[in-house]
Symmetry: C2
Subunit: 290 residues, 2 copies
């Protein structure tokens, strides 16, 4: 077993904690070291079984690591990756788990040291809840994990990154950092923006008459402010494109409703319903696994 030696996790929140729990429950690592800013938070992660050891000293945490996974907020990832690359042993694999990729990969590749052992990664799993308290070892099982190799990515760390996420149960998908950001702008950042916009649209006094559609449609608006501010800023261009495309769909409905065009409303809804049914059909095998 113990295929990854010492694994260091920088930022032991929901994602980092779940990685640690998965590694430990499957005995995939000799040792999981958690690195964070607060020893108290790290102790909680340790009590939850997410890490074997805790340290607030990045250098100490990554010194013996064969694998480093940087799970800090997107605006801190490049710095943390480059620092870890400067300290970790030769041959180490360094990955991130950030929700955006283009800027992160560009920043890291601008650094000759950071670049060598780095593979950009984004496990598409999560929750509106933050913190290791919500981590679970099965978080990545059956979920996609996008790796974003570039011409500068070296084959050995890439191969080990594929192996790492596969062993955590994820389906590994590869694409360029720019393509990742374009797709995720639609499949994740847009839905988050809409959840927040919907939450803002309903006067508090009316929440008591909110239907399940409101509850589900706003769920992710409970997510962390700093995290999502950083993601929106980081992925500006694609997010603006996705928002515009969405606005066009809303405008089409408004026009159909304004002109009371029953056939247009019907077609609009029916296409949406069919796309949603398609998603459900594709999702079904994954849900059954849970």
């Amino acid at each position: 077993m113990e295929q990854f030696g010492t694994v260091a996790i920088l930022g032991v929140g929901l994602i980092g904690g779940s990685i640690g729990m998965a590694l430990r429950s499957e005995r995939l690592a000799a040792r999981v070291v958690g690195v964070g800013r607060s020893l108290q938070t790290l102790r909680q992660a340790q009590e939850r079984g997410a890490i074997d050891q805790a340290t607030t000293d990045l250098d100490e945490g990554v010194r013996d690591a064969e694998v480093v996974v940087v799970c800090t907020p997107v605006d801190r990832i490049p710095r943390d990756v480059c620092r870890a690359a400067a300290i970790a042993p030769g041959g180490a694999l360094i990955m991130d788990a950030g929700s955006t990729k283009r800027k992160i990969v560009e920043s890291v590749e601008a650094d000759p040291v950071g670049c060598g052992p780095f593979v950009g990664a984004h496990p598409i799993a999560g929750s509106e809840r933050s913190g290791a308290a919500f981590a679970r070892p099965t978080l990545f099982r059956g979920r996609a994990c996008v790796l974003t190799p570039t011409p500068r990515t070296r084959p050995e760390p890439l191969e080990r990154a594929r192996d790492f996420w596969s062993k955590l149960g994820a389906n590994v998908v590869e694409m360029s950092p720019a393509e990742h950001d374009e797709v995720l702008a639609y499949t994740s950042h847009l839905p988050h923006a809409l959840a927040a916009a919907l939450s803002l649209s309903v006067p508090p006094a009316w929440q008591l008459l909110a239907a399940g559609a409101f509850r589900d449609g706003t769920r992710v608006a409970a997510a962390d402010t700093g995290l999502w501010t950083a993601i929106f800023r980081d992925n500006r261009g694609p997010l603006l494109k996705a928002l515009s495309s969405f606005q066009d769909r809303v405008a089409a409905l408004k026009y159909a409703v304004m002109t009371d065009d029953a056939e247009a409303i019907r077609k609009w809804w029916d296409e949406a319903r069919q796309l949603r049914d398609l998603y459900d059909d594709r999702q079904a095998p994954r849900e059954r696994d849970e």
Copy 2:
């Protein structure tokens, strides 16, 4: 027990079926008669325990009813209510369960016969699934049910309507039909429209990389096309207002992202997050009941 004598349910789908199951499981009715267009569908509802008897003949179904609940699509409700009022015994209570109220109540009140025994009702409970197969006796428990009395509503049927929904476990709320439609445009019709618009915005090939935010944000887009076309048409004015208000929120985010105004993005998200937290806190006791 048996407080409501014979209850006729017109349209035994998710809502009508759940009413029947609740009445029967609590022994609140001497007999529950299901009225529908398809005998096969009614037989399924009967097998599921939602009704005691089935008929496709509206007149026969309501002839002995002390209470009639019209659960047909919003565009058919006024006609069904007036027909039931013409046939049901004197002193019967006739209610609907439609998602919109102003046009329905106006139509019914334009009919001297329909008007007498009628109380507009909207239990705020449901699902993207249709049909008695998804009905359950606890659907209304802890949920709001809006009654929309007008100056023409008579006190006895109103009092019986309050009693009826309370006995099904709902929290009865009263407001005018117009106020109901304005509130529900924001709390239900808007979230449904957004779910469909989001479903339309994501290219099918990218669905495989969709996060939980997409799954939850599009859930209700799986709902029935005819049902939602009718609701959107029926509640045009308030829906257009809600869509415009929502568009303003999206435009504010777009501007903040376009100008890379970190503080504006942060404030925008934070306000949304706080509103969502408020909703969650208010929801908590209800969720615990389930």
